[in-house]
Amino acid sequence: MSTLKFLLEKEFKQFFRNPFLPGTLVFMPIMIILIMPFAATMDVRNINVAFVLSEQSPLTNRLIQKISSSEYFNLVEVTSSPKEALSLMEKGSADMILEVPVGFERKLTREGKGDLMLSINAVNGAKGGIGTSYISTLLNDFVLEIRDDLAPVVISSATPVIRVVPRYLFNPSLSYRTYMVPALITILLTLLCSFLPALNIVSEKEAGTIEQINVTPVSKFTFIIAKLLPYWIMGFIVFSIAMILACVVWGLIPVGNVATIYLLAIIYVFAMSGFGLVISNYSATMQQAMFVIFFFIIVLMMMSGLFTPFRSMPLWAQYITAFNPLRYLIEAMRMVFLKGSGIQDIARNLFALIGFALFFLLWAVKSYKKSN
């Protein structure tokens, strides 16, 4: 036990003497909790619209007015030449071209039907889709506004109406940030508690100091604990800071039990530390370790449902995510944080994480050798 004390003392000194690590500790939560939610937004805004008008009329002016006053659209150009509009799109300054054909107003007043041509840059498929739905809604509104002016019709009373009342549970304001923040917090844990200690161990390997430790009576268990504990402590300090930031800055207070959140985090940290150790045991150089680590960070993040819902993935990819501890944590974090799910609701995630923790820690202890 006293050996552990001396080793821990050393790890902490080294940690705080490192020119980068303490800074990272401060920088990371700020970056991830304060800045990332701004960037990570699925709301599509500022869609640039170019208008192609072959004839001007009060009606089209009204439509232009309507579009430019919408918070989703920016009107960049009103032109009479479709070619010019297309070149705007090619330059990237227009995302959407709305073309009003000749005789639009006449047809609309006479037949009650008007056609519009809408061309959308759909390279970003999601943006294209959402843009289309925004403009459809906007056009429907527009029609309602002008309908009375054009052709006052008696609303038929005989048509049965199904009233649809949506109620948004758990996140009534439908804020994407609310959805992202609990998940982003987990990224902190992943980086701090699994990959940093792994790199630390590999750096001792490269420096040769690990061999000096290996000829001492320090047991491998003590050594590993001494390596991990400081990062666990820092990890949880940063985790708590992140939770407080989430509360203060974003007004996000966990609906569920905070203890459950910490329980999840602890088990996850065990699992990922084990994973990090396994990597460190198999890599001889920092370069190698870092490359493997970055590969896994990216794959783990992308396949976790953090940015994109994992249920949208093809089935085979969903099976792969079954082996991703981060997926279980993020899912459970969002459930507890936003919905207030209890332990029994997230039992599946907990068991999965416990499984990962046991598997990786056992593997790590097995593969760490003081001698060969």
């Binding site: 980068f20 690590l21 920088f27 990371m28 990332m36 960037a39 990570a40 937004t41 699925m42 709301d43 599509v44 805004r45 500022n46 869609i47 990237g92 037949e111 009650g112 008007g114 056609d115 041509m117 809408l118 061309s119 959308i120 840059n121 759909a122 390279v123 970003n124 498929g125 294209g128 052709a151 019709v153 038929s156 005989a158 048509t159 199904i162 009233r163 649809v164 949506p166 109620r167 948004y168 549970l169 758990f170 009534p172 439908l174 804020s175 959805y179 920092m286 370069q287 870092m290 970055f294 990216i298 794959v299 994109t308 949208s312 993935m313 093809p314 990819a317 899912e331 919905k339 609701d345």
Partner: protein, 347 residues
């Protein structure tokens, strides 16, 4: 070494196929106390839609709540009692949609799906088709008619991979030589420092070109992303970007002294911003203005714009002239600064 070649392949395949923002496999639950002809018809309509998975039936509001808490349902359709009777006699009947709003994006999209289906259903009842003023938008999805996510991700992944391989690996390998002291050996040799730097960069440049080839082949033949523009232009721009990434790596290596620091700097400063601000996942235009300005600083953003324009939209050089100039000046600026710093350190 294997991982250097394997990584791009795995990433492009995984992300190209798997990372999609399309909403699918929606888990629909139904709370149907009336259980009459109208409600069964509506449920059948919903089930026929490919976006929805199998329908789950719940019988009480508590059960619905449980389903949400256990994350087993995304939406619960709650019919009022005597739905059909109300519909036929009073002319209105209501359905409450309880939606899991945690993921707002998915939530909005799926409310849209359900409303559409319900509106179509409702039109069956319409007694008269009295002329209703309508504006019909004819939508043309340019460049990506099927709105595939891969079109958007492939350029992003390309930017990410080059950044990772070139910037990170060069910086780490140079710093490694510094750490082990072999750098000094090279520096005292009669070789000019500039050549040493270039010698370090060349292998990663070659490696990146190999990766460029594999990525392009995979994108076109496996992911079905079109190669609409000029291949030569795309390759030229890619090489320019690779050069920028190498210069960044060089710059980092002159600033930091240890491999861990090199890794942290390239990780924190390059990776996350590249993922977030390059427009790979999130659209830049939707971000706050300040972040939009920040995104201008990121070379990957300009590269990704170029790739989209050339590869997918099939545009020529004139369309990407602006971006190429920016990338080019970034390359020149970064190289000058880092070589100057590198020389300064020698004296």
């Amino acid at each position: 070494m294997l991982i250097l070649f394997g990584m791009p392949i795995v990433q492009i395949i995984l992300f190209g196929f798997a990372v999609t923002t399309e909403v699918q496999n929606i888990r629909l639950a139904v709370l149907d106390p009336s259980n009459d002809q109208a409600t069964t018809e509506i449920i059948r309509e919903l089930q026929a839609n490919t976006y929805f998975g199998p329908v789950m039936y719940v019988h009480t509001t508590e059960e619905a709540n449980k389903a949400f808490l256990k994350n087993k349902a995304d939406i619960v359709l709650t019919f009022e009692e005597n739905f059909q009777e109300n519909l036929l006699h009073t002319g209105t009947a209501s359905i409450q949609l309880l939606v899991d709003g945690t993921d707002p994006n998915m939530c909005k999209i799926l409310v849209g799906y359900v409303s559409n289906i319900l509106t179509t259903y409702q039109q069956k009842f319409s007694v008269s088709d009295r002329t209703k003023t309508q504006i019909i938008p004819h939508v043309k999805m340019l460049y990506n008619p099927q709105t595939k996510s891969a079109y958007n991700f492939v350029p992003g992944v390309m930017g990410l991979i080059f950044m990772l391989i070139c910037a990170m690996m060069t910086s780490i390998s140079i710093v490694r030589e510094k750490e082990t002291g072999t750098m000094e050996v090279l520096l005292v040799s009669p070789i000019k420092p500039l050549y040493i730097v270039f010698a370090k960069m060349v292998p990663y440049f070659v490696l990146s070109c190999v990766n460029l080839t594999t990525i392009l082949l995979l994108s076109v033949y496996v992911l079905g992303v079109p190669m609409s523009g000029n291949l030569g232009l795309l390759v030229a721009i890619s090489m320019l970007f690779i050069l920028v990434a190498l210069a960044i790596g060089l710059l980092i290596s002159t600033i930091v002294d240890t491999q861990v620091a090199a890794m942290l700097v390239s990780g924190m400063i390059l990776m996350l911003p590249v993922i977030l601000l390059s427009g790979m996942i999130y659209t830049i235009e939707s971000m706050p203005v300040l972040l939009q300005y920040a995104s201008h600083m990121i070379p990957a953003k300009w590269y990704i714009v170029c790739v989209k324009k050339v590869m997918i939209e099939g545009l020529g050089f004139s369309a990407v002239f602006h971006e190429v100039i920016i990338l080019f000046s970034m390359a020149v600026a970064l190289l000058t600064v880092s070589i100057k710093l590198f020389k300064d350190r020698l004296q």
